[in-house]
Amino acid sequence: MSLKNNGIISEGDTALAYSADQKRYHTFQVKICTSVRLWKHTVNTEGAIGHYYGSRFVIRGCSLELFDPNKLEVRLEQQLPSEDNDNRNLLDVASNQKYSTEDIQELKENELAGEQLITEIISGSNTFNEKSQFSKQKYLTRKRAKHLPVIFIYRPSLRHLSLMHYHLRPEKIGFLRIDTLSLLLSLANVRYGSRLLVVDNFGGLVIGAVLERMGGGGRLVELFTTEIIHPRPVLSSFSHLSSLHWECLSAFPLRRLARLREYPQTPQLSNSEQKTNNTAQQPISSLQQSADSLEESSIIEIDVNITQNKSETPLFEEQHDHTPPKEDRYCTARELLIEGEFEGIILASKHDPVPILEACLPFISSSSPLLVYCVFPELISNCNEYFHSSNNIILKNLTTSWLRAYQPAESKLHPEMMSSSCRTGYVLSGVRVKTYTVTPTQSIVTPEADAGEERSPDSKRAKLL
């Protein structure tokens, strides 16, 4: 569970670069000789090696240098607000800066080192000294961000990956914002040793997050709704998870759940599954293929990395490396499902969740949390009706999460003026209990106790176990 290399950036690591100015992440591989593209900059990342993850670096030309705030040469004197200028005499004209863009480019090419460049630009501004303190600081910050960008280098983690994917392609992860995703993990009581069912139509973000929280102990059975398991770039980006983590994961096709309930001991293969297995024979090429079809360069990068270093990310290792017999492809998941007694489910699906939930309930032990996540209100309202008409779901709660980021600048505290993460989906939660049992005193029979009895999961489970 301890950090690889004590959390020190090392050659060959997959790392995240983060620009606080742009609020953007970029995945890259730490290498000594090769340069990587970080937004507009082509950078040799060698300078980061040996420093701790989480450190800040300045992009100075083509190299990375540890950022030291004490080395900033240009500093603003603190002024009392009453002495401050108030911009009232400033006019917004281009002639305020004596250096043109070309001039500044030339200054840069003359290898005017970092802060000296900033000093020069400020001396070129006619209006700098007339600006208010606040405007001066803003000017300085803007110029630094442009000419001496500072980046953070992070080790991938649930926090960073969820922020990154939401920012890159929120619709691909079903608008599962960090607060919503975290809520699902808490309410599902995900922990070391969990035994969970997960349906994840959102690129595998939920699966990756659950695996991180299981920390290499526990059982996650993914019930996939597709014909085969497609390689998922979001899940692949959890490159910090070890083989111990990945071993917790097994998968089973949702469409075979019904048959499993009826004939748990006869794992016969259908035609479609044989086809599936054929596809599974070329895991690397299909991963590659999928990566090629993506538009986001940073995502491609990490996919390629994983493909190249597949020993480090043994996704479904038992199939890929041990080449098990075909009929054993879903063997682990099947055995777990036959055992049943899952301690909860996270159902994050694009499909109508009600039939999926009904199919899964028999495998979930009583007193376990049920979590349903939907992007659209129509789906969640149907599921909410189902929860309320069911006699074995209690503590029902329907929420959506609201997250607001603030600008905690000194003496200018306010929420962010624009947010690009206003949208998330709906979380419906409940706790599965044992189906209604009739007591001698029949006085309290709930009115909904009609249809519920028929689809009672317990009776089905009794058959199964």
């Binding site: 569970m1 701790y52 969820s162 975290s182 808490s186 007694e341 032990s365 706790v431 007591t439």
Partner: protein
């Protein structure tokens, strides 16, 4: 509560969450003990051997409780309030902002009613450790009793200490600190010494703006970076079934179309503020000094 793993049957000394329409109540199953209610008594001994999630009827058969397996989330809804507590929407975001995983070691102050402590312990089990502090001796005693009852005593150390004056008595060890204090800015300067070398996280929760403003300055002055501030609220929704009729638009007919739709709408009345979350990173002594 968690480290023992999930059990399917209720045993002696188990913590059980009893649920009815009105709310949750936590009990420790003891021989001879019982839970009183207006409509009858629930004997602890009746619960022994029952499956978690079973419906327990009162001795008169007039009312029932669901006997639930404890989780930090159910505990948060049932615990005896000694202070304002944190609820699951904030707890879950704090867990992610602190980047907690199994194995993380954490400092927390104040312990308060222990709502967050249980969630932290669940997430960092089995190899992490939580050091939690409160200046109120009585609260520390009660929290320790609960940690023991819930089987968390090996994961959690709860101590009575004024961390604002003395800091934490843990050095070079933890990678996450959580503060829920009236004056968080007083303890922030003490935090770096408790961090282990490398990358660590801090989150401070405060209801008022002034606390955030002062904490923000303290974080900056103590060398924290990547300072961020968030507010997270759970918007409670309800599904209302509404009858939609067409307005009568002419006099020839009185037949109007009518249909029912389900609408997801916000509740009228709900918590509109809990607190602000200030989070930051700290990098302790880089191994190389360039």
């Amino acid at each position: 509560m968690n480290s023992k793993g999930y059990k399917s049957k209720i045993k002696l000394n188990d913590t059980v969450i009893l649920s009815d329409q009105d709310g949750l109540q936590s009990i420790t199953v003891q021989p001879g003990e019982s839970v009183q209610s207006r409509n009858g008594v629930f004997l602890h001994s009746d619960m022994l051997g029952k499956e978690y999630g079973s419906k327990m009827w009162s001795n008169k058969g007039k009312t029932y409780r669901w006997a639930l397996h404890p989780t930090p989330e159910l505990w948060t809804l049932s615990l005896p309030h000694r202070t304002q507590i944190l609820y699951t929407p904030n707890i879950s975001l704090i867990t992610s902002l602190l980047e907690l995983i199994p194995g993380t070691s954490v400092c927390e102050s104040g312990t308060g009613s222990g709502s967050l402590s249980h969630a932290i312990a669940r997430t960092i089990a089995p190899t992490g450790h939580l050091y939690t502090y409160d200046f109120h001796a009585e609260r520390v005693q009660q929290a320790n009793d609960e940690f023991t009852a819930h089987g968390l005593s090996e994961l959690v150390t709860c101590q009575c200490r004024d961390v604002c004056r003395e800091g934490f008595n843990v050095e070079n060890y933890v990678t996450a600190i959580f503060l829920d204090l009236p004056n968080p800015w007083e303890v922030i300067p003490h935090c770096p010494k408790s961090f282990s070398p490398g990358y660590s996280r801090i989150v401070s929760f405060s209801p008022c703006v002034e606390q955030i403003q002062k904490s923000c300055i303290a974080l900056r002055e103590s060398g924290f970076i990547d300072i961020q501030m968030h507010e997270c609220l759970s918007q409670q929704l309800q599904v209302s079934s509404c009858r939609i009729t067409e307005a009568r638009l002419d006099e020839s007919t009185d037949k109007r179309e009518e249909r029912h739709v389900l609408s997801v709408v916000p509740r009228l009345c709900m918590p509109s503020h809990t607190g602000y979350l200030l989070s930051a990173s700290y990098i302790k002594c880089n191994v190389h000094d360039l």
